[in-house]
């Protein structure tokens, strides 16, 4: 099936305005008759709930955390892009659009990206008006920095805690609606199923994580804002409770999963220190503005970094990419780090890290300047590694950070299940095969504040939705399914813990569906995943019961979903026999080792339809048509 | 929000405690200044005392002082009870988090305010019984001879010791009380707050030493 993106016609600059005008509206008095459900309280979820609440829709918000403010958007460090051109350096909506399409290696939908660039300017206005304390200059105006290799300074930031401040802004707006009575919070609830009635999303079944009770909630539209699936790799920069469960269960009810193989490996993370490791910590990409990346020139050079003279160091990014140097995009930097470590030139005991050296920057600008710029990051590094980065170069290694893939949505952010909208990292839409720095926050807020309020209204205003009660059979069936799964996993009473299985599936994905992927590796991974899934259901041990707070049980459900999800992740990577962005197939590279895209064969979005556990999913394609930006081979040399 | 409700809130209550505490402190300063007249001899002291007690306004002043005192006691005791209720389950192991570099003002003084306040109240009762309602001596001019009473009282080393301890306790109470009051009023700036805390402590030491000086002085004078 060819998927219809429902992109409006007309020139790219007019598409969104046209769609907004064509959209159906819901009159203020009628809005209270529609129930909206928002799952997830990160940037996308909180901003969507706040704006829909402000418009007068009754909104029920669900989150697995204790408080909506704990969603993982809070951890984003670097910044948020906006095409404000406050720096007079040649930025524009078109340039942000262009950079994002190119950065995504021509695997994103043009119209979506253009809209993202358009509303980016409104996001900054909105956030400042909410009281987000962005960094400012002495003149009192907003400060900007260049970020992630962009050649203009369009990134707004709040120290190293931009995500925190943006999320708190959205959270506070949402809490204002809680106070106003339009939004009700349902925290410590995990969505376990999407309820589809007559082909429309009509509610969810969720589990109260404190009492264990299964609950049914009916609605006229469901918005999934549940983030990405990075924790399928076990170790990632994501929070330990991040999961694919809500998205996966929606997928099993008919929502297609798009481009799961587009995962982003972030180049600057603190390396793994041992088996006990539960997560990886990102060091903001901004460090690459002043730090120089290097490894020893010769294999097995185990001298302490200070004793390695410049002549014996290989500043490999500066050598391979003289134009961009240390600021090449994330996917390029990550692969280059892997390459030098694979050659046996990695630093540290494990050989799985590269140096990020600030000695030159400190010599040039003084330690105080560097401290002012990165002090909190240096402290964080020192706390974790027990090393002083002012004296010893940092050691970094790539880690899974973000997932560009997600549930397939059309231009209206609606999935293949009518009434199910997917926002933020949970959808696939805007970043193509690689996300640029400071674009995730932009997308989450764009979807929630400025896109969903229009498109959800259009759906509600233009669809005949007969009333549905939670007593409907579909809810009962979904509840029974969820209960069955819980009972089943508790009854196994095997010998291996959920964490062991999680680590095992993570290892398979990291080794074969990580930074470099091969035909044989992926095929092997798929059969390993199947075997592991069988073992999971035969040998997992889950503590306690289902009638109280039991984090071990919640974890088991999430890992069980990864056992299924990992297969489509590997399958998608197998079927995409080209290299693009974060997806690097070793068979498809240029003679000098750069990613080789195959536009004539793979210029499409892969959207997978669920056909049963273990049954091969069906691939649907959404062709990507580039009217504005013509695909070229990315070059950062 | 009504003013009454506002003053019953946690912040309003602290404001009242601070305000009444400040008045009581100012009273102490005045009291000390008067008492130091003792050093100038019997006439100066007795005449000052007579001027005070013969003034009809003294009843109003005493009434006000009692009211302030009672309000201070009422607010602190109810707050203490509410604060205990805010943590019904205690920690098995609890330590002060304060370290040298913190701005934490937690001290032995700050943790014993309710105790030092109670001791102060008990002292006050004894103090009034000893002096205000104590033996009535008269001077040749027919006014009350408090100068003589003070000599009589502080000839007893036990009384001297009791007063010294009491002054220490009051000083201990003020050590935290003054800077805490400033914070409750919202007086704070990065530059001035540390100085303010120290000024409060200097005052505290001055007032309690000043009061402590008198029993010792009287005792020593009485010996000679």
């Amino acid at each position: 099936m060819i998927l219809d993106s429902k992109t409006p016609s007309g020139p790219i600059g007019d598409k969104w305005d046209r769609r907004k005008f064509e959209n159906k509206l819901v009159s203020p008095a009628n809005r209270r008759k529609f129930q909206v459900i928002v799952v997830g309280t990160g940037l996308a979820g909180a901003s969507a709930a706040a704006s829909l609440g402000e418009l007068g829709y009754p909104v029920k918000v669900f989150g697995i955390h204790e408080s909506p403010r704990r969603a993982h958007s809070i951890a984003a460090q670097g910044g948020i892009n906006a095409a404000k051109n406050y720096r007079n350096d040649g930025d524009s909506v078109y340039r942000l659009f262009y950079d994002t399409i190119k950065g995504g290696d021509y695997r994103a939908r043009e119209a979506n990206v253009y809209r993202l660039a358009q509303v980016s300017v409104n996001i900054i206005d909105q956030c400042v008006a909410q009281g987000v304390p962005f960094a400012r200059e002495y003149g009192g105006l907003l400060d900007n920095r260049s970020f992630g290799g962009a050649q203009v300074s369009r990134t707004f930031y709040a120290r190293g805690q931009t995500g925190q401040q943006l999320l708190l802004g959205a959270y506070q707006s949402m809490m204002r609606q809680v106070n106003a009575g339009t939004v009700t919070l349902h925290q410590r609830r995990e969505m376990l199923d999407l309820v589809v009635v007559d082909g429309h999303a009509r509610g969810i079944v969720c589990r109260n994580l404190v009492t264990g009770e299964l609950e049914s909630h009916e609605a006229d539209a469901v918005l999934l804002c549940t983030g990405g699936y990075g924790t399928v790799f076990y170790l990632s920069t994501n929070a330990v409770n991040s999961n694919v469960t809500a998205a996966w269960r929606a997928h099993k009810r008919g929502a297609y999963f798009a481009n799961p193989c587009f995962t982003q490996i972030h180049p600057t993370c603190i390396p793994v220190s041992g088996d006990h490791q539960s997560k990886l910590t990102l060091m903001s990409e901004s460090l690459r503005n002043d730090g120089r990346v290097w490894v020893p020139k010769s294999q097995g050079d185990r001298r302490p970094p200070a004793q390695i003279p410049d002549a014996d160091r290989d500043y490999y990014l500066e050598r391979r990419y003289p134009a961009f140097g240390n600021l090449v995009p994330r996917d390029v930097a990550s692969r280059a780090a892997k390459a030098v470590c694979d050659e046996g030139r990695g630093a540290g005991d494990s050989g799985l890290s590269v140096y990020l050296d600030f000695a030159d920057a400190i010599k040039r600008n003084g330690e105080d300047t560097i401290k002012a710029r990165y002090g909190n990051l240096f402290d964080m590094y020192a706390r974790i590694t027990d090393e002083n980065p002012y004296q010893v170069p940092m050691r970094i290694y790539p880690a899974v950070h973000y997932t560009m893939g997600g549930l397939w949505v059309d231009y209206n952010l609606q999935s293949t299940v009518p009434g199910l909208f997917v926002l933020g990292e949970a959808n696939f839409s805007d970043h193509g095969a690689n996300r640029l720095g400071a674009s995730a926050l932009m997308q989450g807020l764009a979807d929630g504040y400025f896109v969903a309020p229009y498109t959800v209204a259009n759906y509600l205003g233009g669809t005949n939705l007969p009333p549905v009660k939670a007593s409907h059979d579909a809810f009962g069936a979904a509840k029974a399914d969820a209960q069955g799964r819980i009972d089943k996993v508790l009854q196994v009473k095997g010998t291996r813990t959920v964490r062991e299985f999680h680590r095992a599936i993570g290892a398979i994905c990291w080794d074969h569906v990580g930074m470099a992927r091969t035909e044989a590796g992926l095929a092997g991974a798929i059969s390993q995943i199947r075997t592991l899934r069988e073992e999971f259901w035969l040998d997992v041990i889950v503590p306690g019961d289902a009638n109280n707070l039991n984090p071990g049980l919640d974890y088991a459900g999430r890992v069980a979903d990864y056992m299924e999800f990992a297969e489509v992740l590997a399958l998608d990577a197998l079927e995409r026999r080209e290299s693009c962005g974060g997806h690097f197939r070793e068979e498809s590279q240029t003679p000098d080792g750069e990613a080789l895209r195959k536009d004539d064969e793979y210029s499409y979005v892969s959207a997978w339809e669920f056909k049963g556990v273990g049954a091969p999913p069906e691939l649907h394609k959404e062709p990507l048509i580039f009217e504005e930006v013509h695909p070229t081979q990315r070059s950062y040399k | 929000m009504t003013l009454q409700k506002a003053l019953s809130s946690s912040i309003g209550s602290k404001f009242l405690i601070a305000l009444t505490g400040l008045f009581l402190f100012l009273f102490l300063v005045g009291h000390l200044a008067g008492n130091l007249l003792f050093m100038l001899g019997a006439d100066a002291f007795n005449n000052y005392a007579h001027a005070l007690i013969s003034n009809p306004l003294i009843l109003v002043a005493e009434g006000g002082l009692i009211a302030i005192f009672l309000l201070h006691i009422f607010k602190t005791v109810t707050m203490f009870v509410a604060n205990r209720r805010a943590r019904p389950d205690r920690y098995a192991a609890k330590k002060w988090a304060k370290t040298k570099n913190d701005r934490s003002r937690k001290t032995l003084s700050s943790t014993t305010m309710i105790l030092t306040g109670t001791i102060t109240l008990l002292f006050l009762v004894t103090h009034l019984a000893t002096f205000k309602y104590g033996p009535y001596y008269e001077t040749t001019e027919g006014i009350r001879d408090l100068y003589r009473l003070q000599f009589a009282v502080f000839s007893n080393p036990g009384y001297v010791a009791f007063y010294l301890v009491a002054m220490g306790v009051i000083g201990f109470h003020l050590w935290h009380g003054i800077s805490s009051a400033a914070q409750s009023f919202g007086v704070d700036s990065p530059r001035w707050t540390p100085r303010l805390i120290w000024t409060g402590r200097v005052f505290t030491v001055a007032v309690s030493l000043g009061f402590a000086l008198l029993p010792i002085y009287t005792f020593v004078m009485g010996r000679n």
Binding site: R69, G131 | A86, F185
Partner: protein
């Protein structure tokens, strides 16, 4: 290394609890404190025992989920750090570590070390925002704000809502948390129009939740992972007094 643990175990809300002894062997100094608990839990699960329940999510000190009292100090011995940022190299081989939940009437224990801090959400809902709807914002640079002021707002806005301030306070007061939000928004011109209403409503809600009152000791600041200053509390007091007169 090997450490002995005394961990608060409580089956559910309102139920009696007690400190239970565990031994964590195979502790690596580079492990984080929570990873050490993960390892202990793996052992308990394999034995068929109930693992120790504790909250954690980002494990990099920003989400505010984690928080236990380690040897009598909320978030443990490191300054400016959350529980998840404490590493085992901070302890010595053979140490006995006491682990308790944050304790306050307003933070009821849900299980073991997990408490319910939703009182904080209700304090924010009472007024911790700027009342403006999406769509109505003027250009972001239309209102210059002095850098010093923006920095001051950011200092206060860094609060992660972990509740360590409440846990450390002898009165279980939430003044540091509440005042941080009041200062953040009160310092900025965007928050000025609602300054009086905000402080009154948030303080009212704070009191309603059953937190204690402030004894101006500053233990909250000493344990705050974001080093939020009690100057915020002075400011809240000032704003409150201003608002009611």
């Amino acid at each position: 290394m090997v450490v002995k643990l005394k961990v608060w175990r409580q089956a559910g809300p309102g139920q009696p609890g007690k400190l239970v002894d565990y031994v964590a062997d195979k502790v690596h100094p580079d492990m984080s404190f929570l990873e050490m608990l993960d390892v202990v839990n793996e052992g308990l699960i394999r034995k068929g025992d109930d693992p120790i329940a504790f909250d954690s999510d980002c494990r990099e000190g920003i989400c505010g989920s984690c928080g236990v009292v380690i040897d009598g100090i909320p978030h443990g011995p490191d300054k400016g750090a959350t529980t998840c940022q404490v590493h085992m190299r901070r302890f010595k081989n053979g140490d006995t570590i006491t682990i308790e939940p944050f304790r306050a009437r307003a933070f009821p224990v849900l299980k073991d070390l997990v408490v319910n801090r939703s009182a904080f959400d209700r304090i924010i809902a009472a007024g911790g925002y700027v009342s403006m709807n999406v769509g109505g914002a003027p250009d972001a640079n239309s209102l210059p704000i002095a850098k010093a002021m923006a920095d001051q707002a950011m200092d206060s806005a860094q609060c992660i809502g972990c509740g360590a301030c409440v846990a450390a306070c002898k009165n279980a007061a939430a003044h540091l948390f509440t005042s941080a939000k009041i200062s953040h928004l009160g310092v900025l011109p965007q928050g000025e129009p609602e300054r009086d209403r905000r402080v009154v409503r948030m303080v009212e809600q704070m009191d309603r939740e059953g937190f204690g009152s402030c004894s101006n000791e500053g233990e909250c600041e000493a344990v705050c992972p974001k080093k939020i200053s009690i100057s915020n509390i002075a400011r809240m007091n000032r704003d409150f007094l201003r608002a009611i007169v």
